[in-house]
Amino acid sequence: MRAFEDFKVGDIAEFGPLAVTAAEIKSFATRFDPQPMHLDEAAAQNSIVGGLVASGLHIVCMHMRLFADGVLRNSTSMGSPGVEEVRYLAPVRPGDGLTLRVEVLGARPSKSRPKMGLVRFRSHLVNSNDKPVMEMIATLMFERRAAPAENEVAP
C-alpha cells in the first residue's frame, strides 16, 4: 500500500495512454456539457474549433481516471481538498491517446491531522504527438504509514 511517506519531491511517473473516442466525447457532453462542439460533428465543423472536441471538464475527468489508476490504486488516498490551477492547452479530438505525466512538487505532514500528509502534484496530459493538452496543479491527502512519534506532531 502506497502511503504518504512513499511520495518524494521530484518523483516523476508516466501512465497511459488512454484512447479518446467520439462516442465518449459525446456521451460526456450529453450528460455534463451539452454544447454543439462537444456533441455533433457537423455543428462542430462550423465552430471555431473546426471539429468535434472534448469538453474541458471531460479532459479533467480523463486525467482523474489516469491518476486514479496510476497513482491512487492501492494507496492510502483520502481524496483532495482542492486544485490550484487547470490550464487547457490544446483541443482533444477523437482518436487522440492521452498520456499522464505527473511530478511530485511537495510533500508535508498535516498540521491539524497528524495521521495525514499532503502531497502536491503537477500533472500534464500529452496527446499522441507529445503535445501538452492540459496542465493541473493539485493537492491530495494520504494517510501516513505509521503514527508519527510524539515529537513529530506539529502544534
Binding site: 471555431i48 469538453s55 471538464l57 475527468c61 482523474m64 481516471r65 482542492g82 487547457y88
Partner: protein, 160 residues
Amino acid sequence: MTFFEDLRVGTRTEVGHHTFVADEIKAFAREFDPQPFHLDEVAAARSHFGALCASGWHTAAVCLRHIVEDRQHRQAELRRRGEPVAKTGPSPGLRDLRWPTPVYAGDTIAFAQEIVELRPVANRPDVGLRIARNTGTNQHGELVYSVLSSTFIERRVKSE
C-alpha cells in the same frame, strides 16, 4: 444582452440544484474516479469520509451542466425575441478550486455563478475575459464546491 459589455461584476445567478443519489455517484466513479469511498458504501463507511460520497469532479460536472443549461435557456429566449446572442467560450482554464465539505449520497446541492472580474484580452479585440466564482452549497448551507472559472465572451463592439 449578455455581450461582454453587458456583464457586471457582482451579478449572481442561481443556476439550479441537484440531488446526488448513490447509483449515479458510483457510476460516475467507475468511469472517472474509481476510489473506494466513491464506489462502495461499506468501504466508504470505513474511510475518513464515513459514508459514500461523490467524486469532486462529479460535483464539478453537474455544476457545469446547470451553468450551460441556464445559459442556453437565456440564449433561446433572446433568439425568440429576435435579439442578438453573444458567442461564449472556450475556457482557458480554472483555478482556486476547493471541495471544503464532501457531497454525500442523498445531498441536494444548489449551484450558483457570480461574476468576480471582467478584463480585456490582449490581441483579442472581439472578446473579453469573464472570471466567475461557481459554487455548490448543500441543504445545510455548507459550501461543498467553489471554483474560479474563466471564459471568453464576445464583445458587442470591438475594443480599440
